[in-house]
Amino acid sequence: MPNTKYNQQMEFFIDMQRCIGCHACEMACAECETNGQESMIHIHYVDRAVSVQTTVQVCMHCEDPVCANVCPADAITKDDFGVVHTANTSRCIGCSNCVLACPFGVPIKSEPQELMMKCNMCYDRTSAGKKPMCATVCPSQALYYGTREEISKMRPDSVPVNTFQFGEQEVKTKVNIMMPKGSTHLKVH
């Protein structure tokens, strides 16, 4: 990728227990120029009948992205910074393999466009040294973009974790999730 001021010290940290379900991230995501008025972030109730718990999900930018592996069209690539980019529009055939295989449920298939789209960590902003839109506006800072030093100072009893266990499969990601101190991974199932 060209001209970049991408700061590799900056990392993405999520803590969905801080999320208040306001959808500011979703509105702001549409302002990111790489996806022009389409929101790529996911925010929804987990089970509204019993709780107002919401979850917020950006692309976790896996070290070995399942989406790219299962793509029949070689449309998904990971760059030198570890950012897994949205589908190459000329290649993507809209098959939805990535949508169904992503363990975090991130990619979105746009049916009329026959195209997969996903979060690319606001590459237009991060490559210019800015923070992603969602983490900039998030009023609860459930989404945080900054350095490891900053987050460890602000949230002394939490620790960033980037290893996830889905049954037999361990997935490592570029994006971190904030867990109780002492945690090394998040076991989803």
Partner: protein
């Protein structure tokens, strides 16, 4: 003639609400704006900093303003979408005149002004000066708020001026004046982030003040305990250390019981109570019988939870107590506020770092707008219109005789009642949508239909303005310079980004021309907003809300100045009461006894369920602005009836089933949303919609005797399932207020 000129459908077709979206490729110039204008969000009292992108005198988008200290770029969904108003297809561009059977037609400014002036003269000559009233709003800047106060008294010469802050935080204002002699939150938000125990009472912070959440989360990161008092498990209550699901209308019982626990356990600051307060003994006398068993029975909160909350509060070394409309929208709103203040004073935790108390002001300029005289009983600097000295000072600033100044007028809802009785015949409104925001709005509509002349100043044709004889297109937040005072008492600068489109004019220019034509032009000799502000500074000098030392330059340089700021060298006052010199006549903070009493309407066999109302995160107040923004509408398209599955089972109500909700004032249909996050005896409906899906058809218009705030938060209702599902059409059209 304030009936609708044509059918609602036809008005909606032309003037909306229509849903606006940003075009797929962005607005013209969003990629290369001419400039970024640093200003603030137009919505709630947080007044988050934001930069607007401007291209060819239109708003093209926004860019976060990372340097503004309160929010550092953070925004809620309304803030992110606030830029969609200037380009909006519903934006009023010309003065409009009601034409029976045809709707509204363009009328030039000259004719519009002529007609308005002649109607004002006619009504005032025929029925008396006070028969022409004015209702205003506190989304307006300090400059406009100040000028409206002066306009009504000096140009319109009416006593009847009030504002929609009457539905907002007047209970808090009245309570604070009683207890402290001054009406402002005691500390800036940065103190909140360091408190050890935080109680938030009747405030759905996460949905109504989302950007304040960050400060509460910061405090929790540092180990703070969070106690949330709310009948519903709101998003901020979900992870709270303690949630007290209070039965609506019983708040003061809870605070009374907590005060008794503090006394019984001697968790008191005797030194503070003795030297800096008065009224302690009679206050604790009033709660001596409020034991836990009584409190549990009255409030519906388990006794152990009440004890836990009181214990944390009693033992804390630093703390913050915040409340909002949830405890203020009651016929005992002032009592509830005083109950909270008693808890703060008993522990002496005020006027110190990380020790604070306050109301979270709701509207954009709910703080500044309630200080400078557009309340019926108030003059600038939070002065009293019945106090001869205050009258004399302000008459001097305004260049009129004290005897010319009208006295205390009717409060907002009382004015509606007076219109209904035929005592007030003409009305001018600005920035207020009473048909959606006032309780018992069938009654409000009847009142509006009785007006002989109604002129509305607004930038969209809101539900109330549909009834107007004349509409004057005013200015958006970004179309006029000024200042607002945020909920933490910080005076910030609103910068003009663009000029009003079409024939629309700045609100202040409209008011100045009206004043000129009413023969008071010499009193409204302003060339710019700063002129008005400079006069406001002088008018507020010596009052409790003293802005004298604040200048535009100083605000820009410091990104806001906290009042009181009595002279030009003064740095402003982020934390009040460090000197322990309270603004009451005796210089002490006042305890006030709060004996418990019931709300104005209690449940009975005919209306057996408690109804409460409130907000959702994607909408703002009466929705006049936010129901025109597509994504915000889509996020929560129609009002739902939140009901506990157990209560629903009792009435055989299924999820998504349309339920008829009736009260003594009206009935309406809402789809049920079965959730375990609400008390089993209470249902909740959000109030942002007008027309057939307006929750305020059901609410009650009884008022707090002191603050005159209506009791939005509790009334009795009946539920009847209809056997039908809510229709797609209802959902798709609710935002338009059919």
């Amino acid at each position: 003639m304030a009936t609708l000129p044509i059918s609602t459908d036809k008005i909606i077709e032309k003037y909306g609400p229509h849903k606006a979206y940003t075009p797929a490729s962005g607005f013209h110039g969003s990629h290369e704006p001419d400039r970024l204008v640093k200003t603030h969000c137009c919505f709630c009292g947080m007044q988050c900093g934001i930069q607007l992108k401007v291209k060819d005198n239109t708003i093209a988008g926004f860019e976060p303003w990372m340097e503004f200290p309160f929010n550092e770029g953070r925004l809620c969904p309304k803030g992110v979408q606030r830029y969609l108003q200037n380009n909006h297809p519903d934006r009023l561009l010309h003065p409009l005149q009601r034409v029976e059977g045809k709707g509204f037609e363009n009328i030039g400014w000259d004719k519009a002004m002529d007609r308005t002036i002649s109607e004002i003269r006619r009504i005032q000559e025929q029925y008396g000066q006070d028969a022409f009233g004015m209702l205003s709003g506190v989304s307006l800047t300090n400059e406009k708020s100040y000028m409206i106060g002066k306009f009504a008294r000096v140009a319109l010469k009416t006593a009847n001026l009030d504002y929609n802050g009457r539905l907002c935080m007047v209970s808090a204002g009245a309570g604070n004046k009683k207890a402290f002699g001054l009406d402002r939150i005691s500390n800036s938000w940065s103190d909140l982030a360091g408190a050890e125990v935080i109680i938030i009472a009747g405030t759905n912070v996460s949905e109504t003040f989302p950007t304040l959440t960050h400060y509460i989360w910061q405090a929790r990161d540092r180990g703070a305990k969070l106690v949330v008092i709310d009948p519903r498990v709101t998003p901020i209550a979900r992870t709270a250390d303690l949630h007290l699901p209070v039965k609506p209308g019983t708040d003061s019982a809870l605070y009374g019981a907590m005060l008794k626990i503090l006394v019984d356990n001697d968790w008191l600051d005797h030194d503070f109570i003795q030297h800096h307060t008065s009224g302690f003994d009679k206050t604790i006398e009033a709660v001596k019988d409020y034991d836990l068993a009584w409190a549990e029975k009255t409030t519906g909160i388990p006794a152990d939870k009440i004890l836990q909350a009181a214990t944390w509060w009693g033992k804390a070394s630093t703390s913050f107590l915040l409340h909002a409309r949830g405890i203020e929208h009651h016929t005992k709103g002032v009592d509830n506020v005083l109950g909270c203040i008693n808890l703060v004073l008993a522990t002496g935790r005020i006027g110190k770092p990380y020790c604070g108390y306050g109301t979270i002001t709701g509207q954009g300029n709910g703080q500044g707008g309630r200080e400078h005289g557009h309340k019926c009983d108030q003059l600038p600097g939070n002065r009293d219109i019945t106090n001869p000295e205050h009258r004399k000072y302000i008459a001097g600033v305004w260049g009129i005789e004290e005897s010319e100044m009208p006295g205390k007028g009717l409060s907002a809802y009382e004015m509606i009642e007076a219109i209904h009785r035929g005592e007030v015949k003409g009305l001018i409104t600005i920035c207020f949508n009473p048909l959606v925001s006032l309780p018992n709005n069938n009654f409000v509509r009847e009142a509006f239909e009785k007006l002989e002349y109604y002129v509305a100043i607004d930038f969209f044709l809101n539900e109330t303005a549909r009834h107007a004889d004349l509409i004057l297109p005013g200015s958006l937040h970004e179309e006029e310079e000024g200042t607002v005072t945020t909920a933490e008492g910080r005076v910030v600068k609103i910068n003009q980004a663009i000029t009003p489109p079409g024939e629309a004019r700045k609100d202040s220019d409209i008011l100045i021309e009206l004043a000129q034509r009413l023969g008071a032009g010499d009193k409204f000799n302003y060339s710019c907003s700063e002129d008005i502000f400079n006069e406001l500074r002088v008018a507020s000098k010596g009052g409790t809300a003293d802005y004298y030392g604040i200048t535009y330059e100083k605000i820009e340089k410091n990104m806001g100045v906290f009042w009181p700021c009595p002279d030009l060298d003064h740095p402003g006052t982020p934390r009040l009461w460090e000197d322990r010199k309270f603004k009451t006549p005796d210089g002490k903070a006042h305890f006030n006894p709060v004996p418990y009493r019931d709300p104005s309407e209690v449940v009975d066999t005919e209306f057996p369920v408690v109804l409460t109302t409130g907000r959702v995160v994607s909408q703002y107040l009466s929705g006049s602005q936010t129901r025109r923004i597509g994504k915000l509408v889509d996020q929560y398209p129609e009002p739902l009836l939140e009901i506990h599955p157990k209560l629903a089972a009792k009435y055989n109500i299924k999820n998504r089933e349309l339920v008829k909700v009736s009260t003594r004032r009206g009935e309406a249909f809402f789809p049920a949303q079965l959730v375990e996050t609400i008390r089993e005896d209470t249902v909740f409906i959000p109030y942002h919609w007008g027309g057939k899906q307006s929750a305020n058809q059901l609410t009650i218009g009884t008022l707090d005797p002191v603050s005159k705030i209506p009791e939005f938060k509790v009334c009795a209702c009946r539920l009847e399932p209809t056997g039908q599902q809510g229709t797609e059409k209802m959902k798709e059209t609710a935002y338009q207020s059919y």
